[in-house]
Structures are given as structure tokens and as C-alpha cells.
């Protein structure tokens, strides 16, 4: 199987190389905007999730804008390939050799995490793919008012004596960032595993069955802020945001809410160095500041990659982009080119020690074996 595919890839690589020469020649002759003309083509924007998730919302947000920004205004259609928590679609994309830009692939934190953890289902390799867009998302953890009152400023030591319950999608999913953060603060949090989406977790919080929760920014703005206004919830901390140099800073969407890093520094039980911190940071970066990325296959030539990077930049440069994206995506960096590459490197290259720490912790605390 592998051998056959490799041969195929080599053979197609040769074809692609020839095509590249031809394409470059065409571009050179047409000489226009330095982009590959896509007119009349249909670009498939494949996401490894179902029609109902956040990734679908994100892909459908970008598809029409991308269509306008690409030279020749090709049709961009979103295709769904759900299965096995996104690894099925990613495994499929790994096998694709469509190098003329008519296939792009959108991943999410749920695709990154099993890859980082060495999940046996993962047959894909991020190093093979070329990133053209990285979209950030933030997250906010919040508490019921009576629990929030036990915090001493930023110091979370007062929460250590309580039993917390929250609804979680699974130990190996995006939620591990929250589980690890709370654990590092010395809190006892029992995740109730098996909910289908973060919205269900919020509902458990509203029903009083859960007494801690977190939501990604768009959901927090939409559904938790009204709870905060009614005095039913109090924000505890954000996971923060990543600046261009790769440091964790306050989330620009929530400048008044402290980051986990600040809370951790103020809490004696928590340390912002060492294995746990490094592991948390690595998984936070994979899960949030570069949560959703758009990739071209390995063989796509540099000109096609440049065309897509340019198109995404043009989308971001639109006068109405800030307004449009604030509603769907929140106020987060939409990174292209070097920034995207940096985000991808941070998101997909965890130190072995961090990985080993998480694998061991998942096994010890939740009995989840990844072997």
C-alpha cells in the first residue's frame, strides 16, 4: 500500500513538475498579478467534519470570500468528510495528489491533537502539507458566582477544596487544555465525558449540574456574556492569545479578563515553567491560536501556494473584513505566510517531554491509553 502510493506520488510529482513549468510559463506570459489564473475552475474546500460543527461555520465563512479574492473568481465549494473525530478525513487528504490548487483542506484542533499524541489512527503527516492560512480562536473559563468569590484576586488557591464537575467532549480532544489548566491550579475537576459539543457543556452549567466550564470566544460572546450580565456566571480566565513572537498575551477580544498564565503565576500551586507548563503551552497553541488551518497538498507548486496566500491576504485586507469576521470568528489573528508557518510549527511540533507528560497524565487521571 505504502510502496504503491509512494511510487504513485513520485510519478505524479514528475507530472506536477512538468505542469509547474507549463503553469509558470503561462503565468509569465499573462504576466498580470503574479497569481495562477483559476477562472472556470471549481475549488474543493474539504473539511474533515460534519455540516454542523464550528469548522463548517469557519469554512463557509471563508469560501465565498476566497472565491472573490482568487484570480479568475473560481467557484469554491465546501465538502464534508467527517469520521473518527476528523482523523478519517485527514488520512484521506494525505493520499491526495491534486496539486493545481483545486483541493484545499481545513483542519482543526481536533485534527492536531491526535497527531500530537501519536494516536494509532493517525496516518497523516503535517510536515507534508503546506499551510496558507491559520485562524486563531480564544477560550474563556468561567465559574458560578459563589465559586468565583472564593478566588483571592488572581490567586485560585481558594478553589482547591471544592469538587468541580464539567461536561467534556473527551480526554484527548480540545478540552484537554482546560483539564490540564485546572489541574495545574490544584483544583479537583471531574470531567463528565461524552457530551457532543461545547454548547451541551454550557447547558449543564446553566442547569446547575456543572459548576465550571469554558467556551470558545464566539460562543462565549454569544451565550455566556448574557449570563454574566444577569449575575449567573463570572469569567475566571482566558487561555490568552499568541503575539507574533510566540508569547502568550491577553486575549484582544477580552482585554479585561486575566489569562491562565497570570492566574497561574499568582497561584502558589502552579508554575509557569517545567514539563506541565510546556505541555500545556504546546497543546494550547495547537488548540487555540492556530486552531483552524488551511492546507495545500505536499506537491502543490510554489506559485499555487503563493496565489492562495495572496488571496487570503486580500480577504483580510477588505474594508468590511473586521466587521464580517467579528461576528463569525471573533477578533483573532488570521495569519498567512510566515506568521501562518510559525503558528503551524508551534502547533505541530511538541517537545517529546511535553507529549510524554500528557500521555502519562491522560493514562493516570482518566485511564486513557494511547497505545
Amino acid at each position: 500500500m505504502t510502496i504503491k502510493n509512494t511510487t504513485r506520488r513520485v510519478a505524479l510529482g514528475a507530472v506536477a513538475a512538468a505542469a509547474t513549468v507549463a503553469l509558470t510559463a503561462t503565468t509569465a506570459i499573462s504576466g498580470g498579478h503574479g497569481g495562477v489564473d483559476m477562472s472556470g475552475k471549481t475549488i474543493e474546500f474539504v473539511i474533515p467534519f460534519s455540516e454542523s460543527g464550528g469548522s463548517a461555520r469557519w469554512a463557509n465563512f471563508y469560501a465565498p470570500l476566497l472565491s472573490e479574492a482568487l484570480p479568475g473568481n473560481p467557484t469554491v465549494v465546501v465538502r464534508y468528510r467527517p469520521g473518527a473525530g476528523s482523523t478519517a478525513g485527514a488520512n484521506w487528504f494525505q493520499e491526495q495528489d491534486v496539486n493545481d490548487g483545486t483541493l484545499i483542506f481545513g483542519t482543526s484542533g481536533s485534527t492536531q491533537f491526535p497527531y500530537l499524541l501519536g494516536d494509532p489512527r493517525v496516518r497523516y503527516e503535517y510536515d507534508d502539507w503546506q499551510v496558507v492560512l491559520a485562524s486563531g480562536v480564544g477560550g474563556v473559563s468561567y465559574l458560578p458566582p459563589d465559586m468565583a468569590a472564593k478566588m483571592d484576586g488572581l490567586d485560585a488557591t481558594g478553589l482547591q477544596g471544592d469538587d468541580f464537575i464539567w461536561g467534556s467532549q473527551g480526554a484527548t480532544r480540545l478540552d484537554l487544555v482546560a483539564n490540564l489548566a485546572w489541574k495545574m491550579l490544584g483544583m479537583t475537576v471531574d470531567p463528565v465525558f461524552g457530551i457532543e459539543g461545547r454548547g451541551d457543556g454550557r447547558l449543564m452549567f446553566e442547569r446547575g449540574e456543572a459548576n465550571i466550564d469554558y467556551q470558545t470566544s464566539p460562543a462565549y460572546l454569544r451565550s455566556v456574556v448574557p449570563l454574566v450580565e444577569q449575575g449567573l456566571a463570572v469569567p475566571m480566565m482566558t487561555w490568552g492569545s499568541l503575539d507574533d513572537a510566540g508569547n502568550i498575551v491577553r486575549d484582544p477580544t477580552f482585554p479585561d479578563i486575566p489569562t491562565f498564565k497570570e492566574v497561574c503565576e499568582a497561584t502558589p500551586a502552579c508554575e509557569t515553567s517545567g514539563d506541565a507548563w510546556e505541555a500545556w503551552k504546546a497543546f494550547f497553541i495547537a488548540g487555540f491560536p492556530a486552531q483552524k488551518m488551511v492546507f495545500l497538498p505536499n506537491g502543490a507548486d510554489a506559485d499555487v501556494v503563493a496565489t492562495f496566500s495572496k488571496a487570503f491576504q486580500d480577504v483580510h485586507a477588505r474594508d468590511d473584513f473586521a466587521e464580517l469576521s467579528a461576528k463569525t470568528l471573533g477578533i483573532y489573528p488570521q495569519m498567512t505566510e510566515d506568521a501562518a508557518q510559525k503558528a503551524k510549527d508551534l502547533a505541530t511540533g511538541v517537545p517529546d517531554s511535553a507529549k510524554a507528560f500528557v500521555v502519562n497524565w491522560l493514562q493516570e487521571d482518566y485511564g486513557v491509553s494511547l497505545n
Binding site: S50, E51, S52, G53, A56, R57, N60, A63, P64, V77, R79, R81, P82, G83, A84, G85, A88, N91, P120, R121, D163, I165, G167, G170, A171, T172, D190, V192, F193, G194, I195, E196, G197, G199, D200, R202, L203, M204, E206, R207, G208, E209, R222, S223, P226, K327, T328, Y366, G367, V368, S369
Partner: protein
């Protein structure tokens, strides 16, 4: 009164907003799209919405909402066509409709069944819209009262319907439901991701079996094969008995039943997390339990159509309540709908209900109008479409094979979907042949994952509560709502056990050889034992406790059945075997030979891809099995291939590729 003061002006404003030529036009467009998509089994609201979503961005909000709501509202109406006429559950909402709707078609009363179903849908849809209007403003505390223990109890109430649908031998029903529950646990567990009866080497199983495929395999495949063996029309008399006016009269005569069923539909729809798939079974169960004369249920009782159909449209109105109040989708199509609303610039949630009540109410009006237009159109068409049941079935069957293969292929878009369909189809054929309750199996399958999740989660929370103090825990698991549903469940099981046998009548089933029924029982027992053993290997307790518990109950039922088979004479009903009966046994064509045609289509598809295989299959089938002229063969084959290409093209779907496509690049649709 305050509610009326808030609601009525907004309702009036919404009415003005929606009654504009352009908005009404979009609503009608949505209705037409919804009807066209809903007619195909396996395609529903999600597929339809995906079609229109690219155009929503930038539309004026009222038109966009009218388009989407019009589409969603009529899917549970139009899927009735497949359920009643062909015995294929059109979507999860019409599974129970098959039980009595299809026998009515066989009796030649398809038009009557259809019009009764549509008028019930219309009524349920309107009731749902009315409830939505006022409930929207006060439902929040009520919905928050439904925690995990309450939802678990409703799921158990759904499972208790097995009692009345178990068939002649209650233990067989229990074993069938247990088998369904076990099939529902296949794959990665929801809680911690342990694998059950699956392996990473077979990625398809890791994801679990899809409801569409199980529904088609259990109900559609056995019925199509059984009918095909007869080589006649679906309607036994070959004609249409009573017309569509009769159906409307039937509905009016059962108005009270329709009201009750619609109310059940709204209530179950309102509770987020339950999903719509239980509602038709619960209403069907209640319909049977509350009827005086039960002898005709399962054989073509019109009440068995009116009950579920009144509830499944009402459920859509109910389902919009949590969707709009909490921004939490109750189903896949609701999730896409939420995305669509966001594209229009609105965020569903408390904010929208409070500040954009007029826009919110245009959703209510669209829902009501769409039901009237959609059901009205369907009623007018039902007399004509019902003629399908008078066509020689051998000419209809290849189209059905094509459509269910296409529907199955939608779930993961791999050939494994087709293999799974065939495998589940064989199980369905066996369940039918040996009179194991297929509804019981499907109820088990449908409720498996939520029964496990709710039970696990409720236990986890209760444990922490009990750790705090005993009464804190009791308060959690013993709420008045839990106790009330528990009493209902006990009542339901009691009535079910007492009267369930009557559903299939008291006539003696055909019995033949002891060997075949016994072998099938042994196979079920064997699978159960292996599933228990497999689950026992899992290290995480919360991932294995449910399959092991369910497995043990199933195993005990099987054990008792084995003992009964060992001691009973061959004439005992436990040995029911339809192959020994008049209808199946005397059929002009064999069971396996007929199924082999379907297997041929799927096998060929794995070699040369779906479209080429379809062409070859049609020509071969029509010439060799149906024996029609080359001329007719050509027309029908072109029609089938054209239909598939049209559907695939419009929905943007590829077809299953075969081995050939690995080596040769072919243009669409041959890819």
C-alpha cells in the same frame, strides 16, 4: 397576560414582514426544495440546507429565514412517501410510519394512507408553530428543569416501547432490542474513546454504524427483496382501493389521537439532547396502547399512520424552542440552520428572542405557512403518486436498489457504506424471516448511544453529589419529573406485556424446520457472547459497563429461548419461519437469488465504480430478471443513470469509485 402583551404585537409585525411577495416566493421555493430532497430516503434537512447555504450570505433576513424554514419544515412531510409507498423509512422521523403505512399500500390503500399522513402532518406542524409562539417566551426555566436524570428517564420510556412492539414472543423482542443496543455501541465510545467490536485496522467500524444504513438495512432491504420475489405490484389487488378523501375522513375521526400525538411530539422536541428519533416510536407505542381494538396494528391500521405523522412535524416546532432560546441545535439539520441564521447576521439565543422578537416570529410564521403549503401540495399529489404501488414491482425495484445505495453512500462516502448496507440488510432479512421484532431492534439501536451517555453522565454527577451528602444526591436523581416519567414507563411496560401480543394477532405463524430458526438464534447468542467478551477487555469502566450490562440481559434472553427451542415441538411459534409460509415460501423467486442481484450491484460498483456498475446492473436486471424489451431497458437505464447524475451533480456528491478508478482517471460522474 404579560406574555400576550409582548407576543401579539411582535407576531403582527412578523406577519407583515413575511406576507410580502418576495418573502412568500422564497418560502415556496424552500418548500419545493424540501419536498424534492425529502422524497429521497437518506437525504433530509441537512442535504437540503447545504444546497441553499451558499446563497444565504447577503440575503435579506426574512427571505433567508423563509427559505430555510420552508425547507426544514416539509422534510418530515415528504419523507412519508417513501415510508408509506415503498416501506423505506424516508428519514428518522418516519420510521414508525412504515409499520402500518406500508401494509396499507399493500392492501391498495396507499392514497388513503398518504392523505391521512399529510393532513396529520399539517395539523401537527400547525400545533407545533402555535406552541412555539408562546413557549418561546416562557420555556427557559422548563427546559432547564430537564437535567440528565430526566433525559435518561425519557430514553428509558422510549425503550419501554419495545414491550408493545416485541411481537408474539416477548423474549425475542427483548433479545432483538438488546442486539440493537449492542450494535449501537460498536465503534469508539462517546465517553473515553475505547473501541468496542471494532479495530483501528477497519476505520469504518471505529466511527460506528450510521442510523441511515441501519434503518435502510433493517426495513428497506428485506421488504424490497420480499416484494421482488413475488413479481407483482406492491398493491396486492393491483389497483387503488379507497381514495385520498377517505384518508382525510380517517384523520378527522381520530382527531383526538392526532392532538395527543402532536403534543407528545412538541414536548419531546422541546427537550434538547433527545433528538427527534425517539418521538415517532413513543407516539406509535402510545397510539397502540390507547387503542381499543389492537388487532390490525402492524397489518395496516390507519391510526398507526396518524399518530407518528402528527408528532413528527410537531416536533420541528418544538425543536426550534431550544435552538432559538439556547442556540443549541437539537439535530443535525438544526445545527446547519443555526449556521444559516448566523450568515444572515443574527445570533440565535436569549438575545435574539429578547431583542429581535419580530424576526424570531417570522420563523414561526414560516413554519406554519410551510406546513400548510407543503402538506397541501402533498395531499393533492398523493392520489397520483400512490399509483406507483400499482406498477409491476420488478420494474420499480432496480430504482429502489439504486436510491438506497446512493442514500447509504451519503454517510461516509466510501464503499464500506455499501458493504455495511448489504450486511445489515442480511440481518434484517433474517429478523423478518424468523419474526424477531425489527422495530425493537431499531429502537434499541437508535437509543443506544444516548442511553449510554445519559446513564454514564448522570451516574458521574450523582456520585459527586452523593459524596457531598446523601440528600444532595437523592434530590438530583429523584426529582418529581423523574418519578413521574418512571411511573409512565412502568405503566407502558405493563400495558405492553399485557396486550403486546395482540398486535400481531393471534393467528399461528408459519413454522417449518427446527434447524433454521435455531441456527439464527445461535448466531445471535454467539455475537452477544463475543461482544461481552470484547467489552470485558476494555480498561476504562465507563466504556464497558453499558455493553456488558446490555449484553448479559440479551444473553439471558437468548439462553431461555434456546431452552424453549430444545424442549418445544416444531409447531411452537418460537420456530416462526416465513419461508415455510404461503407468501414467502411459495414465491416464484428464491430469497438468496434475489438478494444476489443487490449484491451484484454492490460488488460490481467496487470493481468499476458506481455509475458504470449501475448501467450494467440495470441492463442485466431488466433483460434477465424482468424480461422487458431492449427499448424499455434503454429508457429505464437512461432514466436511472440520469437521475443519479442529476442528484449527485446538484448535491455536489461524488459516487463510490471502484478498483478501475484506482488505475484510470475518468471524468465525472464516472470517477
Amino acid at each position: 397576560m404579560e406574555i400576550f402583551a409582548t407576543a401579539l404585537p411582535a407576531l403582527g409585525e412578523a406577519l407583515v414582514l413575511i406576507f410580502q411577495p418576495q418573502q412568500i416566493m422564497y418560502l415556496v421555493l424552500g418548500v419545493l426544495l424540501g419536498l424534492s430532497v425529502g422524497v429521497f430516503p437518506g437525504l433530509g434537512g441537512i442535504a437540503g440546507l447545504s444546497l441553499v447555504l451558499p446563497f444565504i450570505f447577503g440575503m435579506d433576513p426574512v427571505s433567508g429565514l423563509a427559505l430555510m424554514v420552508g425547507l426544514i419544515a416539509v422534510v418530515p412531510t415528504s419523507d412519508t412517501f417513501a415510508s408509506v409507498l415503498l416501506g423505506i423509512p424516508g428519514s428518522t422521523a418516519s420510521q414508525a410510519t412504515v409499520l402500518d403505512g406500508f401494509p396499507l399500500s399493500k392492501k391498495g390503500e396507499a392514497a388513503r394512507a398518504l392523505s391521512a399522513a399529510f393532513i396529520s402532518s399539517l395539523f401537527g406542524g400547525l400545533l407545533g408553530a402555535i406552541v412555539l409562539t408562546f413557549f418561546l417566551l416562557i420555556a427557559r426555566p422548563l427546559i432547564l428543569a430537564f437535567g440528565l436524570p430526566e433525559m435518561l428517564m425519557i430514553t428509558v420510556l422510549g425503550l419501554s416501547m419495545v414491550a408493545i412492539l416485541a411481537g408474539r414472543i416477548p423474549l425475542k423482542g427483548v433479545a432483538a432490542a438488546g442486539l440493537g443496543l449492542l450494535f449501537g455501541t460498536i465503534g469508539e465510545s462517546d465517553a473515553s474513546g475505547s473501541l468496542r467490536m471494532a479495530s483501528y485496522d477497519i476505520p469504518y467500524l471505529v466511527d460506528g454504524l450510521k442510523l441511515v444504513i441501519v434503518g435502510l438495512g433493517i426495513f428497506a432491504v428485506p421488504e424490497i427483496v420480499a416484494l421482488l420475489r413475488q413479481d407483482r405490484a406492491i398493491s396486492k389487488s393491483g389497483g387503488l382501493g379507497s381514495g385520498w378523501l377517505k384518508g382525510i375522513a380517517d384523520w378527522f375521526a381520530n382527531l383526538w389521537l392526532s392532538i395527543r400525538s402532536a403534543i407528545i411530539g412538541v414536548i419531546v422536541g422541546v427537550i434538547p439532547g433527545l433528538g427527534g428519533s425517539v418521538v415517532d416510536w413513543i407516539t406509535y407505542g402510545f397510539t397502540v396502547q390507547s387503542a381499543k381494538d389492537k388487532s390490525q396494528f402492524g397489518k395496516g391500521d390507519i391510526r398507526g399512520v396518524i399518530g407518528p405523522e402528527s408528532s413528527n412535524n410537531a416536533k420541528e416546532g418544538g425543536g426550534l424552542v431550544p435552538t432559538l432560546i439556547f442556540g443549541i441545535p437539537g439535530s443535525g439539520s438544526m445545527a446547519v440552520f443555526l449556521g444559516g441564521i448566523a450568515l444572515l447576521g443574527y445570533d440565535p439565543g436569549p438575545h435574539m428572542v429578547r431583542h429581535n422578537l419580530d424576526i424570531t416570529y417570522t420563523i414561526v410564521w414560516s413554519l406554519a405557512l410551510a406546513n400548510v403549503i407543503g402538506a397541501g401540495l402533498c395531499i393533492l399529489l398523493s392520489g397520483q403518486i400512490a399509483r406507483l404501488t400499482t406498477i409491476r414491482f420488478t420494474l420499480v425495484a432496480p430504482f429502489l436498489f439504486t436510491i438506497i445505495a446512493f442514500a447509504a453512500f451519503q454517510s461516509s462516502q466510501t464503499l464500506a457504506d455499501l458493504a455495511a448496507l448489504l450486511a445489515i440488510g442480511v440481518i434484517g432479512i433474517m429478523l423478518r424471516r424468523f419474526e424477531w421484532s425489527r422495530p425493537a431492534f431499531l429502537i434499541g439501536f437508535v437509543l443506544s448511544s444516548q442511553a449510554e451517555s445519559f446513564a454514564n453522565q448522570a451516574v458521574q454527577i450523582a456520585t459527586v453529589r452523593f459524596k457531598r451528602d446523601f440528600w444532595n444526591g437523592m434530590e438530583y436523581i429523584g426529582s418529581p419529573i423523574v418519578i413521574a416519567i418512571l411511573l409512565l414507563t412502568i405503566l407502558s411496560v405493563y400495558i405492553g406485556i399485557k396486550q403486546g401480543k395482540q398486535i400481531l394477532g393471534n393467528s399461528t405463524p408459519p413454522v417449518g424446520d427446527k434447524r433454521a430458526p435455531f441456527l439464527f438464534l445461535l448466531a445471535v447468542t454467539g455475537y452477544t457472547a463475543v461482544a461481552i467478551w470484547d467489552s470485558a477487555q476494555i480498561s476504562v469502566l465507563r466504556d464497558k459497563i453499558f455493553p456488558i450490562t446490555v449484553g448479559l440481559v440479551t444473553l439471558v434472553s437468548c439462553g431461555v429461548l434456546i431452552m424453549r427451542m430444545m424442549t418445544a415441538p416444531a409447531s411452537d411459534p418460537v420456530f416462526a419461519d416465513l419461508e415455510a409460509g404461503d407468501e414467502d415460501g411459495a414465491a416464484p423467486h428464491g430469497l438468496w437469488g434475489t438478494l444476489a442481484w443487490f449484491g451484484f450491484l454492490l460488488g460490481l460498483a467496487s470493481l468499476v465504480g458506481f455509475i458504470i456498475a449501475l448501467t450494467i446492473f440495470f441492463i442485466a436486471f431488466l433483460r434477465m430478471r424482468a424480461g422487458v424489451s431492449w427499448m424499455q431497458t434503454g429508457i429505464l437505464t437512461t432514466a436511472a443513470v440520469g437521475l443519479m447524475c442529476f442528484l449527485g451533480g446538484v448535491l455536489g456528491r461524488d459516487f463510490p469509485p471502484g478498483l478501475l478508478q484506482e488505475y484510470v482517471d475518468l471524468p465525472w460522474p464516472l470517477t
